[in-house]
Amino acid sequence: MTELTIFRKALSPQASGAEVAVTSAPYFPRRKKRITGRSIAVLVFLAICALFFCIPLYVVIVTSFKTMYQIREGAMFALPNVWTLEAWDHAWNTACSGTRCEGLKVGFWNSVAILIPSLALSIGLSIVTGYALALWNVKWAGPFLFILFICAFVPFQIIMFPLISMTAALRVYGSIWGVAIIHSVLAMPVLVLIFRNYYKDIPQEIMSAAVMDSGSFWKIFFEIILPMSGNILIVVLILQITSIWNDYLIGVTFGGMGAQPMTVNLANLITISTGTVRYNDNMAAALLTAIPPLVIYFIVGKLFVQGITAGAIKG
């Protein structure tokens, strides 16, 4: 801040009411900050924190590009002598998980196949429930919300066995749909609360106007409310993509043999009991599994921050 332009009402009678631009000296010139011992301490602390995360990541990345021959030399932090994509190729196409040697790509496509219906089901169900609870007169809405709130705290492990027999009875156990349904059910409490709180901030008069104009639950939802939910949808989308993609327990429990997600695939791939441990393959496989949520972050990360703040203040 160097200059401030101030508009001051001129007091002289001939120019009364006119706005006159006044250029004045800087108001509060900022003193140059000196580097103090305290700020050095903070910087050092932050640098250590950053290294704490960066060094393992560095090791994972460089190892994935090394040959097994170089890895056996033991210089963990050294850069690859020869940069090679062999390990990546092997992990993706031919690494063995149990008796099948088709690599991670099976798990990847399973994960994609699980992700899409899980997202659609969980967001679809909870957005409509949140909309109904926030903007329509639902009988017992209060108790219902309270129960949902309680459900958000129930650990998955407690209800795992009943859920297995329920999905088995529905004949979806061991299929992609089984995993998707469990994901949606488990995400419901938190997502409904998020949507409901977001929609509570929509002015009541807009809803009244819509009710007088149309009165149709679905028409109001699709034409008025859904277009206003962009911000919160992005937040929920990222939350869900990360949690569904990174999930291991639901996948391993409900996926059976045919619908195991990438995380389960990865775990099987690296826990071998015979032969040598192929570190470069393992690192490449781990990176491959971690990349998709990162890509999503980079694509919509900016929108994500906007979404969070927009939800925090009024929408």
């Binding site: 807009i206 009244s208 034409e223 277009p227 206003m228």
Partner: protein, 364 residues
């Protein structure tokens, strides 16, 4: 074009009765203003008519139809909200169109109506903009347009001008009045602004505490307030209300103020013959005083000036009388001549006094 009637309306939230056995009916083409202070139940009454709230007991009819249990969209009315309540993600055109969402009209009829409303309200250049890109006055027009396209007989307005600045408010007030003259529709309009009520209404219902205090034309409300609440609520500066004792002897009736000033009220149209010595509250409009009376005078007060203030075309002066101030409307040039604490003789014109029973607060 329908008439609207409320019959024995009761609305309660739990044990709290907001409206109790309220009856009100207006004719086809009336411009009804529900006027009252905040929390008097006027908006509740409007929402009951709109169907946004359910009545606890009673019956609402629009035209010959009983709409008490109908859905809002089936009641045949349109509403303009205080905050405009435009749909933020739709364009102006989309906003107007959604107003017709419930009607299964052919597309060209919809377009025709939107074009008509846009022309009437001069918002044609704005049709492709979003509400966020409009000024307050433009949003107001769009909100009215959204109601107009529905082509219904009854329009509801919920304090539509309270978010506008003073100049725009005056403009929009005129426009709404013009629209009413043009469309001849029935309008129910909620406000706490007495100027809006006085200028636009054909009928005013003054409400307080969930009860209709008086229902009548603006002139009736202003000239013959039914009770002390209406008398003090309508008018700015407010009516001067003073406790007096009536002295009745023969054909002559006088109101005697605490300080001994006597006011002749023989010509007052008493509803029933007053008793000698009865306590009465006299209501004196500020504009019925005169510094130099040219006609018959009911009473003359010799009182010291406290201060005078100019409100544009005219001025108000305040005089110390007994233990309170007496507000007068005076000409600005006369106000300029008034010196503080100077005693002045002011007269109250004959036949203009209002008398209220001191016990019940009702008009005598």
């Amino acid at each position: 074009m329908p008439r609207v009637s409320f019959e024995h309306i009761t609305k309660s939230y739990g044990l709290l009765k907001v409206l109790d056995d309220l009856n009100l009916s207006i004719e086809d083409g009336d411009f009804l203003v529900l006027l009252g202070p905040s929390g008097c139940g006027k908006t509740t009454l409007l929402n009951l008519l709109a169907g946004l709230l359910d009545v606890t007991d009673g019956r609402i009819a629009i035209g010959d139809r009983d709409v008490t249990d109908r859905d809002p969209k089936d009641r045949g009315l349109a509403m303009v909200f205080q905050s405009y309540a435009l749909y933020p993600t739709k364009t102006v055109h989309g906003n107007l169109k959604f107003g017709l969402a419930a009607s299964k009209l052919p597309r060209d009829e919809i377009e025709k109506r939107i074009a008509w409303a846009a022309k009437l309200l001069q918002i044609e250049p704005l049709l492709n903009r979003k509400p966020g890109q409009l000024s307050g006055g433009q949003r107001q027009r769009v909100a009215i347009g959204r109601a107009l396209v529905k082509n219904v007989g009854v329009f509801l307005f919920d304090e539509p001008l309270s978010n506008l600045d003073a100049k725009l408010r005056t403009e929009m007030r005129l426009e709404i009045k013009k629209l009413h003259d043009q469309l001849k529709s029935t309008i129910v309009y909620v406000t706490h602004d007495q100027i809006e009520a006085m200028t636009m209404a054909t009928k005013i219902a003054v409400m307080n505490g969930g009860v209709i205090q008086q229902f009548g034309t603006p002139d009736e409300i202003y000239e013959r307030p039914a009770n002390l609440f209406v008398a003090s609520f309508i008018g700015s500066p407010a009516m001067n209300l003073r406790k007096t004792r009536l002295a009745v002897s023969g054909g002559k009736a006088e109101a005697i103020f605490g300080s001994g000033v006597r006011m002749d009220v023989s010509d007052y149209p008493f509803a029933e013959t007053p008793q000698d010595g009865a306590e009465a509250i006299v209501g004196l409009r500020p504009e019925h005083f005169a510094l130099e009376a040219k006609g018959p005078v009911a009473a003359t007060f010799t009182v010291p000036v406290q201060y005078a203030e100019r409100t544009g075309p005219d001025a108000s002066a305040y005089f110390q009388f007994e233990d309170d101030l007496l507000a007068l409307r005076v000409a600005p040039d006369a106000a300029a001549k008034l010196a503080p604490r100077q005693a002045v003789a002011v007269s109250y014109l004959k036949g203009k006094a209002n008398l209220f029973d001191a016990r019940t607060g009702h008009r005598m």
